[in-house]
């Protein structure tokens, strides 16, 4: 059925009775939520949300799969990714080295759009499911090739309890522990 325009009348309210009942309804709903707030706030550093598997968090390089095609650096909308040349052992003659290109990333610029992950022809890049990491200075946000291959430390996970937000019909979002308690 195709969509259509529907002209609707504005619901009118007036009169003393409606005035009293509307005031009471507003007060009642306030008191209802005062008694049972149904809140889903996360006490952040104490608890932290464990995000879904498909979340576009930090991007990590799997160097073995990289074929140096530079597609990731070219698609990057914010020019966060650059290719650098590093010497690697020659595939046939181990004593020689050859120059090969690998991507490095500048997390000051990255906007986590995930285009680089999607364009990589060999799936050498992948997302981890977190992005809340604090750096003490801007220089640390330039990742060199070694850093880019390791999943970054996630200090929040060491301090906090992982929780997960479930969509719930009554509560909207419901905070549940993400994992069973250890022991």
């Amino acid at each position: 059925m195709p969509p259509k325009v529907a002209v609707k009348p504005l619901p009118k309210r007036g009169g003393l009775l409606a005035g009293v009942s509307d005031n009471l309804a507003a007060l009642m709903i306030g008191i209802k939520y005062f008694l049972n707030p149904k809140r889903f706030s996360i006490y952040y550093p104490k608890e932290y949300p464990e995000l879904r598997k498909g979340y576009r968090g930090f991007i990590i390089l799997n160097k073995q799969k990289c074929i140096s095609c530079a597609a990731c650096a070219r698609i990057c909308p914010s020019a966060a990714m650059k290719m650098i040349r590093v010497p690697v052992p020659h595939p046939k003659e181990p004593e020689k080295t050859v120059m090969k290109q690998f991507p490095v990333i500048n997390y000051q610029r990255c906007i986590f759009c995930g285009y680089c992950v999607d364009i990589c022809p060999t799936e050498a890049l992948y997302h981890v499911n977190y992005h809340d990491i604090v750096y003490e200075n801007l220089a640390e946000m330039f990742w060199d090739l070694d850093t880019f291959q390791k999943e970054p430390e996630y200090p929040t996970a060491e301090e906090g309890i992982p929780v997960r937000l479930m969509i719930h019909e009554e509560y909207g979002l419901l905070k549940v522990p993400a994992r069973e308690k250890q022991g």
Binding site: A26, G30, Y33, F34, P37, R39, F40, S41, Y43
Partner: protein, 344 residues
């Protein structure tokens, strides 16, 4: 008589005790609790947590302490364009006059602990209400002295609101006095006794009083003079630091004073405790009951912020003259009928 005795007698001299220790100190604590409750209650209705991290076990009560400290030590910026002396003096006088009604409000029926000599207590209600009308003048002065479009609009709005709602507040608080036939707060409370509270006998005046207090002291949803989206903070736009805190605290103090008066006039004062002899029975317990009732009134007003939005200025004035003033007059009429029937 040693020095210590002199000092002790000076501190416990009722006007000083009630004004400085109970009035200022107690009202500061009450203001803190009221602000905290306002934020916590609103947070519950709004499905948030509210203040928490400053002291998780106290539910974030220390947030308010931190706020106060911040205000106390913040730099006071005084713009070049303001009228210096009125700008400085207005919040100070406003605050001082806001807490002055404590000095004439009796919190017990034991004459030893009245703040004024018994002869003067005859007109305690009149004096208390007269003083409560003074602080708004200084809000208007501060708005005018700050010399800024927003402060002047805010000051004018304050004048409008005060003109209509202060009248209602005073008239509705007079209704019990009309019924009892006395301007002595102690007499009125004694007349109410254990059951004949005016909240039951005269709910019209009580409702009008609550509305008028919320409006005239700019409780949150009704803070038309300080309405943020148009006039940044109304008369207080140019204030910072301790002067801003005085301005804001003044409003809470006034609300607490009105809360005290409402609890005495309508909620039976120190009843169910009958004041006896001695400090504990004669003063501490009854005044505690009165203060608790006043705090409940203040908190009930605070709770409304989570439910209602802000009226427009003309709508608020319209409501005052068309709805709340007739309500008040009906309340006074009811009080006259009650006096005629001789309930007291």
């Amino acid at each position: 008589m040693s020095v210590l005795d002199t000092v002790a007698s000076l501190i416990f001299y009722p006007p000083i005790w009630q004004l400085l220790i109970l009035g200022f100190g107690g009202a500061l604590v009450v203001a803190m609790v009221a602000v905290w409750f306002e934020r916590k209650a609103a947070a519950r209705v709004q499905r948030r947590i509210g203040p928490y991290w400053a002291s998780p076990r106290l539910g974030g009560l220390m947030h308010l302490m931190a706020d106060m400290l911040r205000y106390a030590f913040q730099q006071v910026v005084i713009p070049r364009t303001v009228d210096f002396w009125p700008f400085i003096a207005a919040p100070i006088f406003g605050m001082a006059l806001s807490i002055l009604p404590f000095a004439v409000t009796p919190l017990t029926s034991n004459p030893n602990f009245w703040p004024l000599p018994p002869a003067l207590m005859e007109y305690s209600l009149l004096v208390a209400l007269a003083i409560t009308t003074l602080p708004p003048i200084f809000i208007i002065v501060s708005g005018w002295a700050a010399n800024n479009p927003f402060t002047i609009i805010g000051g004018v709005r304050e004048a409008f609101i005060i003109l209509s709602y202060e009248l209602i507040a005073i008239l509705s608080l007079f209704a019990p006095a009309v019924a009892v036939g006395s301007l002595n707060i102690v007499d009125i409370v004694q007349a109410q006794g254990l059951v004949k509270w005016f909240i039951v006998l005269n709910p019209l005046a009580f409702l009008a009083a609550i509305l008028a207090v919320a409006m005239s002291t700019s409780a949150f949803p009704f803070e038309i003079p300080e309405s943020e989206p148009e006039v940044v903070a109304g008369p207080f736009t140019e204030y910072s630091g301790i002067l801003y805190a005085l301005n804001m605290g003044g409003a809470y103090m006034r609300r607490f004073v009105f809360g005290l008066l409402i609890s005495l006039m309508f909620l039976g004062g120190w009843y169910p405790i009958v004041p006896g002899e001695g400090f504990i029975l004669g003063y501490a317990l009854p005044s505690l009951v009165v203060v608790v009732k006043a705090v409940v009134v203040v908190l009930a007003i605070s709770f409304l912020r989570a439910i209602y939005g802000r009226y427009r200025l003309d709508q608020a004035l319209d409501m005052a003259w068309r709805l709340v003033l007739p309500l008040t007059l009906a309340g006074i009429l009811l009080a006259l009928v009650e006096a005629y029937l001789g309930i007291f």
